[in-house]
Symmetry: C2
Subunit: 107 residues, 2 copies
DNA sequence: CGAATCTGCAACTATTGGGTTGCGCAATGG
DNA sequence: CCATTGCGCAACCCAATAGTTGCAGATTCG
């Protein structure tokens, strides 16, 4: 169901640390939780919790490689969030309406 | 600053009740917290707390009218959220990149 | 005026959530 | 082969938040 998806995606995006993680993962290659934590003021375990939330929303995927676990961004669910935003805001401005059509076409 | 705006908007959108409130306000005329609460399984006071969160994000505005307080949707800040989504997801798909340009042009 | 109605504010409770420490286990490399 | 490295899991802590009840202040209307 789409509604559940939107809930998990928006919940995932609500935290600034998780948005920072997504930004980092969107910029570069798949990273491990340890290396991601090195750039943040929190522990690896906290980062892994955030990555778990992102994983539940379908925004990251984990692949085990030897003793490392690399996290990779899988941004497809962002379309659900964008679609919701466009649907609610669309009646106010046709820029968002165009945006909605673009996103919906892609689904 | 834009970052703070995105934070407040995404936080506001993370709760299903608040999204339901926005959907209701986007569909119809400005409503009071009492009438909005009548359609939900929670009290008027809880609804008002949610509307306060939406207000902090700039997504609703309150106008006093006699003894009623009408809440109206002001969806402009949604563009910040859409812009963030487009920026992070955009490198993966140029549909979202086009979307980003559309939103940014509008700012 | 007085009753009804609607809002505003405060106190309190319970649950969620972000963060930590601690420890055990698997993989790797000199 | 064993010391090192990196991950996974669990328990615990504290702050924030979604929700409640209760009540007082305005405003409308008969």
């Amino acid at each position: 169901m789409r509604q559940a998806a939107a809930d998990e995606v928006f919940t995932a995006l609500a935290d600034p640390t998780r948005r920072a993680l997504l930004e980092a993962l969107s910029r570069g290659a798949p990273e491990t939780s340890s290396r991601l934590a090195a750039e943040l003021p929190i522990t690896r375990q906290a980062v892994e919790k955030h990555l778990a939330v992102l994983g539940r929303a379908g925004l990251v995927e984990r692949t085990r490689e030897g003793r490392e676990a690399r996290y990779e961004m899988t941004p497809a669910p962002l379309a659900d969030a964008a679609s919701w935003i466009a649907a609610v805001g669309g009646e106010w401005d046709d820029t968002l309406a165009r945006l909605q059509r673009a996103v919906e076409r892609r689904r």
